[in-house]
C-alpha cells in the first residue's frame, strides 16, 4: 500500500527536509519573504501564508489562520442544542447539509435517539448531492486558481445552481439548509422533488464527461499538476489527512465504508484511490468520487420508502441529553467532519467541538510546498480544497 517515501520522515524544520536540500538552497543566498493573503484572489477567502523564497523555490511556508475565526464553538456552548444547528450550516458553507448530518449524528449518539428509515434515505440523498456540489465547485475554483479564470467556474456553477434549486425547494434556502433535526429531518420531501432530483442525477454524467474532456488531458493542467506536491501515504496518515486528499495518496479509508453509518451499507460503491498522491491525483479523484456518488444516488432515489421523517419521541427544544460525551463523524466532502460533545445534563452542551477537516488537512501544506515553485503553492492549496469557514470556525 505504501509507496516508498520520497521525502523521508516528516520534519517540521525545513532545513532538515531532504526536499529542501534538493532544491539546491545556498545558505548564503538572500531569502525573499512574501505574505500571501489574507486578501488574495486564490486563497479561497481570508487565508494567509508567510512564505520564504529562494529565487522561486519555496523554502519555508507558515500558514496564518484566524481571519475568519467567528467563535462558533463558544457561541454553541451558550445556546441550546437545537440552536447550534443553523450555525453548522455556516462551517463549510458549500456542504451545509452534510454538516447538519454530522451534528445531528453526534447529538443522536449523545442522547440515544433513533432515526426513521425514510429520514436516513433523505440524509444520504442530500449529503451525496452536497458532495456533487462541493466537488463540482472545487473543480471550478481549482482551475481558476491555475489561471483558467472564470471559464471552468462558469460550467461548474451552472451545474451547482441546478442542485441548489433542489435544496431550495426542500429546505427553503439555497445554501444554508438548517434541515436536519435530532432523530430525522425537519420536513418531508415536497411533491415532485424526487423526479426533479432524478432528472438532475441523470443529467450529471454528461456534464462530468464534458468537464473531464476539458480537463483530464489538457496539456497545461497535466504539466502543472503531475509530480507536483507529492504526498506519501505514511506521511498522510501521520499528518491526519482525510478525505479525497488521503485517498489520492493510496490509503483506503472512507468513513462511509469503515463506520457504515446511516444506511451506507445498503449501497454498492467503490472507493477510488490514487497512485502517486500528486496534485493530478487529487484533482482526478474528485471526478471518480462524483461518479461513485451517482451510483449511490440512483438506487437511493429509487428505493426510498414511505414513512415518517422524524422520530416522534425525539425532543428538539429543551433537549437535555444524559450526562456523558460522544464523538461522531461523517465522511464530509472535504474529509472527516466530527463533532465532539460533552453533556452535563443541562440544555446546553458543556463542550462543543468541531473537528474541521479543512484545518487539519492543511497541517501538511508546508511539507507539500517545500522545494516547489511559488506558482505551484496555489495549485497545491487548491487541490487540498479548504473552506475558511471551517478552517477558522
Amino acid at each position: 500500500m505504501n509507496p516508498p517515501s520520497e521525502t523521508g520522515s516528516p520534519s517540521p524544520n525545513p532545513a532538515e527536509s531532504p526536499r529542501y536540500r534538493t532544491a539546491g538552497y545556498d545558505s548564503d543566498a538572500q531569502l525573499l519573504e512574501v505574505s500571501l493573503g489574507p486578501q488574495h484572489p486564490s486563497t479561497h477567502g481570508v487565508f494567509r501564508m508567510n512564505v520564504a523564497l529562494d529565487g522561486e523555490d519555496v523554502v519555508k511556508l507558515k500558514p496564518v489562520f484566524g481571519y475568519l475565526h467567528r467563535n462558533h464553538e463558544q457561541i454553541a456552548e451558550q445556546v441550546s442544542y437545537l440552536g447550534s444547528m443553523p450555525y453548522t450550516d455556516r462551517l463549510d458553507y458549500f456542504c451545509s447539509l452534510s454538516n447538519n448530518w454530522a451534528y445531528a449524528a453526534a447529538v443522536e449518539k449523545l442522547a440515544g435517539i433513533d432515526v426513521p428509515e425514510r429520514a436516513e434515505y433523505i440524509r444520504v440523498i442530500t449529503s451525496e448531492l452536497t458532495r456533487l456540489v462541493n466537488h463540482t465547485s472545487f473543480l471550478g475554483f481549482m482551475l481558476s486558481d491555475m489561471g483558467a479564470w472564470g471559464t471552468v467556474l462558469m460550467y461548474a456553477f451552472r451545474e451547482r445552481e441546478k442542485i441548489l434549486d433542489l435544496f431550495e425547494s426542500l429546505t427553503g434556502s439555497r445554501m444554508m439548509g438548517n434541515y436536519m433535526r435530532f432523530g430525522g429531518c425537519r420536513c418531508d420531501l415536497p411533491p415532485g422533488w424526487l423526479e426533479q432530483a432524478r432528472k438532475v442525477v441523470d443529467g450529471y454524467p454528461a456534464f462530468l464527461d464534458e468537464m473531464e474532456s476539458l480537463i483530464a488531458t489538457n496539456e497545461i493542467v497535466i504539466s502543472r499538476t503531475q509530480r507536483i506536491g507529492r504526498l506519501p501515504a505514511d506521511k498522510a496518515v501521520n499528518g491526519s489527512m482525510t478525505g479525497p486528499c488521503l485517498r489520492a495518496s493510496g490509503v483506503n479509508y472512507d468513513i462511509r465504508k469503515v463506520d457504515r453509518y446511516g444506511i451506507y451499507d445498503r449501497f454498492e460503491f467503490r472507493v477510488p484511490l490514487g497512485d502517486h498522491g500528486d496534485c493530478y491525483d487529487r484533482l482526478m479523484i474528485r471526478f471518480l468520487e462524483m461518479r461513485e456518488t451517482l451510483k449511490i444516488l440512483r438506487p437511493a432515489l429509487r428505493d426510498i420508502p414511505e414513512g415518517p421523517v422524524m422520530d416522534p419521541k425525539a425532543r428538539q427544544r429543551n433537549l437535555r441529553p444524559p450526562e456523558g460525551e460522544a464523538y461522531a463523524r461523517v465522511e464530509a466532502p472535504k474529509g472527516e467532519l466530527g463533532f465532539y460533545l460533552i453533556s452535563d445534563a443541562s440544555d446546553k452542551p458543556y463542550r462543543y467541538r468541531v473537528r474541521p477537516p479543512s484545518l487539519i488537512n492543511l497541517t501538511l501544506l508546508e511539507d507539500l510546498c517545500l522545494g516547489e515553485k511559488i506558482a505551484d503553492v496555489m495549485v497545491i492549496l487548491g487541490t487540498i480544497d479548504i473552506v475558511l469557514g471551517e478552517v477558522d470556525r
Binding site: Q39, G45, L68, R70, Y87, M154, F157, R174
Partner: protein, 200 residues
C-alpha cells in the same frame, strides 16, 4: 441650463437625445463599476454566484472584479468581518481609488449577524468605514446583490459633481490589535450609533 423633464421625453420620442455633462458623467460612472475581488465568508459564494452563469452581474456593468484595490472603486464586504480581519479591510478601503463605494453584504457585515456574540467578531463594518448600501440576509440571494447594485447606481446618478463630491475621501484610521480588543474599537468619525429609545 436645466431642461424640463417633459420636454426631454418629448424630444427623445423625436429621436433627439438631450443631456448635460453631469448626467452623462454619472451614466458612464454607474455602469462601469469595478468591484474588488474580495470575499470573506459565506456571502462571497453568493457574490460569485451573482457573477456566474445564471445571474450574470455583467449585465449591470460591474463584471470586472479586480484583485488589486488600486484598480477598484467598489468594495463588497461579503461576509463576517472578524476583529483579526478588520484592519485589513480598512487598509483595503484606504487603498481604493476615489470616488469609492461600499456595499455591506449580509447580516454579519451589517451587525455581526448570527455571530454577534463572538469575542472575535466585529459588530458591523460601519464602525470603521462608511457604508453606502447594506443588504440584509444570511446569505442574501444573488438577486439581492443585483438590487443593491441598482440602488448604488441610483445613488451615483444623483451625484452633483460639486467640489465636495470631487474631494478625496479621508483615510480611515486603521485599528490596531490590543490585548483584549481592537484599539480603538470604533471610528467615531464614521460611526454614529442610532439613538436608542428605551422604556417605551
Amino acid at each position: 441650463m436645466a431642461v424640463d423633464e417633459g420636454l426631454k421625453s418629448e424630444l427623445s420620442k423625436q429621436g433627439v437625445f438631450v443631456t448635460n455633462l453631469r448626467e452623462l458623467h454619472n451614466w458612464g460612472h454607474k455602469n462601469s463599476l469595478w468591484p474588488l475581488q474580495f470575499g470573506l465568508a459565506c456571502c462571497a459564494i453568493e457574490m460569485i454566484s451573482a457573477t456566474m452563469a445564471r445571474y450574470d452581474l455583467a449585465r449591470f456593468g460591474a463584471e470586472i472584479f479586480r484583485p488589486s484595490p488600486r484598480q477598484a472603486d467598489l468594495l463588497i464586504v461579503a461576509g463576517t468581518v472578524t476583529k483579526k480581519m478588520a484592519p485589513q479591510v480598512v487598509r483595503l478601503y484606504n487603498q481604493m481609488a476615489d470616488p469609492k463605494y461600499v456595499i455591506s453584504m449580509g447580516a454579519c457585515a451589517i451587525s455581526g449577524g448570527p455571530f454577534k456574540e463572538g469575542y472575535n467578531v466585529l459588530k458591523g463594518i460601519d464602525r470603521y468605514i462608511p457604508v453606502d448600501v447594506s443588504i440584509p440576509g444570511c446569505p442574501p440571494r444573488p438577486e439581492a446583490l443585483l438590487h443593491a447594485l441598482m440602488n448604488l447606481q441610483e445613488k451615483i446618478q444623483a451625484d452633483q459633481l460639486g467640489p465636495e463630491d470631487q474631494a478625496e475621501t479621508a483615510e480611515c484610521p486603521v485599528p490596531e490589535f490590543g490585548e483584549h480588543d481592537l484599539e480603538p474599537s470604533k471610528n467615531p468619525g464614521v460611526w454614529h450609533p442610532p439613538q436608542i429609545r428605551r422604556g417605551e
